[in-house]
């Protein structure tokens, strides 16, 4: 796979202590109202029997896919993928169709269901903090994480670091970096000691989810032109044939139903 030079997050579930400081930092940084959030910390609870207890928490936000399905699906192009990683949503053109929410295999974009037409109901999701990143800072959630469970850097370096960590402690980790290849690669990489499905992460194939639909869309305009040409030819052919038949056997005319004039 081609290496993509840009930024990415790395989340290590073994380091997360469920303090939820990232949620607070995100809300403060992006002025998110108290009843909304762009980042969720979810615990799977305590598992196992005493004394062999285990627990896991997962920090979940936009995966910033390399081939974003929200971007592929949006009819008005409200999403775009920046060269340095972030998938950005532009509310100024959004028509509120919510197709991006259907398209996203991770269920990330969420919608203002409680706002009317005047207040304006928009999609909301993690922005990768471009206002910080562009000024050389780390995203708010990463900067605030006390245990380095969330890290940020070049995607290439993050993948290398993740594999190095697995190699150093093979007993601690599942030998897989979630997001390295999922959905054609994401800019949010996850390391875990419990199966990824237990963290609520869906099993996504390596091919981008939007592959088939984009291929079908590519065929649309050629198909439309071809089909239009075929129909025109059929129309002309039948019209000619009818004309010929009518001139040859004018007697048949009476049997035909005339078009309304």
């Amino acid at each position: 796979m081609i290496e993509i030079k840009h930024k990415a997050y790395l989340f290590d579930a073994t380091r997360c202590i469920d303090c939820r400081a990232c949620m607070v930092a995100c809300s403060v940084e992006n002025s998110i109202p108290m009843d909304k959030t762009r980042i969720w910390v979810a615990g799977v609870g305590v598992k196992g029997e005493f004394p062999n207890l285990d627990r896991a928490t997962m920090v979940y936000h936009c995966m910033h896919c390399e081939h974003p399905d929200c971007m592929s699906a949006c009819p008005v192009g409200a999403y775009h993928k920046r060269d340095d990683g972030p998938v950005i949503y532009n509310p100024d053109v959004c028509i509120g169709c919510r197709y991006c929410m259907n398209a996203c295999p991770f269920g990330v974009p969420h919608f203002d269901y409680d706002k009317g037409i005047i207040a304006g109901a928009f999609i909301d999701k993690c922005t990768f903090c471009p206002q910080r990143v562009d000024n050389g800072l780390e995203p708010a959630c990463v900067a605030t994480c006390p245990t380095d469970a969330l890290e940020y850097g070049e995607r290439e370096d993050m993948i290398k670091a993740a594999h190095a960590r697995i190699a150093a402690h093979p007993e601690r980790y599942i030998d897989h970096v979630y997001g390295e290849f999922e959905n054609g690669g994401t800019s949010y990489l996850i390391l875990s000691h419990v199966p990824f499905s237990e963290l609520g992460l869906p099993a996504i194939p390596e091919k981008p989810v939007n592959e088939v639909s984009e291929k079908v869309m590519e065929m649309t305009i050629p198909f439309a032109i071809g089909w239009g040409a075929v129909l025109t030819a059929i129309t002309a052919g039948i019209a000619l044939y009818d004309k010929k038949k009518d001139t040859q056997k004018p007697a048949e005319l009476d049997e035909k139903v005339e078009a309304p004039k």
Binding site: D35, K36, T37, W40, A42, M58, Y60, M71, A73, C74, P75, V76, G77, C94, I95, G96, C97, R98, Y99, N102, P105, G107, H110, F111, D112, Y113, D114, K115, G116, I117, I118, G120, A121, L199, G200, P202, I204, P205, V209, N210, V212, S213, V216, M217, T220, F223, A224, W227, G228, L231, T235, I238, A239, D242, E255, K256, V257, E258, A259, P260
Partner: protein, 401 residues
């Protein structure tokens, strides 16, 4: 035998129009509440279920049942099978109203209905929804042009009716192309959900399946709409024409069944037919009601030649096919389980449409029926009856060529 055209349709201030008006009023009030307070308060839609009843019923079903318009326009104008002329205008009217209903319903469902025209200036070429939006908008225009002669004849502007009739062919061809595109694209809409839609339904051939089934739905709708309007307006029923349409249905259904099962076999997914619990049952229900039963019914000559048989067959076919649209767009779609990561206030794992949600669709549908009734009463929609053969009221075998 001359048809008695002086019979007045029973469409005065009957009980049906009153009920329809009441339903429209209720829907209007609910829509106003939705525009003021948002989609959340009146629906069960959530971040886990962004699309629900409105999309399944108004968009998927609404577009599918409007496919009769392009089928009849293609048959009469392109294939020049003129004997179907009497069915043309009612079908085009059904399609025209159907698409207007789709558009109105989408204006309720969209978060920013006032921005619907953004689709024309901010185009994203990879979006299936864009294709559907553009096709539906263009096709509405085409249908308006195809139906305009009826309006002009109704207000006695024969010259304009004549003029449009003269230049109708390019619009008919455009209409068939647009219909082919968006009927199949409705299937493509689900292509981006391979991880969410059950494998019994998700296939790269969804667009072809949708187009094939849309043909049967269109034919079924023509039969249903002719049967019902003939009963309501006490006019003749073109059984000999409907019989011919009904004859085509089993052929298309056979192709459809072949595609469906062939694809499952090809993808090695036949096992899901029996191992997916509720999904398997839904799949078989849709096949038995929408494909097998109408295939048998419409294969029997006696059924095709009786008004009741045609109506029954069409209703069963439509129920099954509508179940298919609901399956694909709702029942078989599983969004990722948000219990783990979404706080409960943002998610709702179990979606079930609320009463207001359904009432909006019912109101819009009532408006469609009302408009059909008014058009049938005041415009020459069924005008061709006087010269559509004396056989119009009596079921006789095929005539002409």
């Amino acid at each position: 035998m001359k048809l008695n055209l002086t019979v007045h349709p029973r469409f005065r201030i009957g009980i049906l129009p009153m009920i329809l008006l009441a339903l429209m009023g209720i829907a209007f009030v609910i829509a106003m509440i939705r525009y003021t307070f948002g989609i959340g308060p009146i629906t069960d839609l959530s971040n886990s279920y962004p699309w629900g009843f409105w999309i399944s019923f108004d968009l998927f079903t609404g577009v599918a049942i409007s496919s009769g318009g392009f089928l009849m326009a293609g048959t009469v104008y392109i294939l020049r099978i003129k004997e179907f002329q009497p069915l043309l205008r009612p079908s085009v009217l059904t399609a025209f109203l159907g698409y207007i209903m789709v558009a109105v319903a989408l204006l309720v469902d969209l978060g920013h209905p006032e921005r619907i025209w953004y689709m024309m200036i901010h185009m994203n070429g990879t979006s299936v929804l864009l294709e559907i939006g553009i096709c539906v908008m263009s096709y509405l225009t085409v249908l308006a042009i195809e139906f305009a002669p009826v309006v002009f004849e109704g207000i006695k502007w024969q010259k304009f009716a004549h003029l449009i009739h003269k230049f109708i062919m390019p619009f008919v061809i455009l209409g068939v192309v647009l219909s082919t595109l968006h009927q199949s694209s409705l299937g493509s809409l689900l292509l981006i959900q391979p991880t969410k839609l059950h494998p019994l339904w998700w296939t790269p051939f969804l667009p072809i399946m949708f187009f094939t089934s849309a043909i049967t739905i269109g034919l079924g709708m023509i039969i249903l709409e002719s049967s019902l309007s003939s009963r309501y307006f006490q006019r003749g029923l073109e059984v000999h024409l409907l019989e011919k349409l009904a004859k085509v249905i089993p052929i298309v259904l056979a192709v459809y069944a072949f595609l469906k099962f062939g694809e499952l076999a090809w993808a090695g997914e036949l096992g899901y037919l029996f191992t997916s619990g509720v999904m398997s049952i839904l799949f078989w229900a849709e096949i038995l009601i929408g494909v097998v039963t109408p295939f048998i019914l419409f294969s029997i000559k006696k059924v095709r030649q009786s008004a009741n048989g045609l109506l029954t067959g069409a209703i069963i076919l439509l129920l099954g096919m509508i179940l298919n649209r609901f399956n694909v767009s709702w029942f078989a779609v599983k969004h990722p389980d948000p219990l783990f990561y979404l706080p409960s206030f943002m998610s709702n794992v179990h979606y079930f449409p609320t009463l207001p949600e359904v009432l909006v669709s019912v109101g819009i549908f009532s408006a469609g029926i009302m408009a059909f009734g008014l058009a049938a009463k005041y415009l020459p929609v069924f005008e061709n009856e006087e010269h559509s053969h004396e056989t119009a009221v009596t079921p006789t075998p095929a005539i002409g060529d």
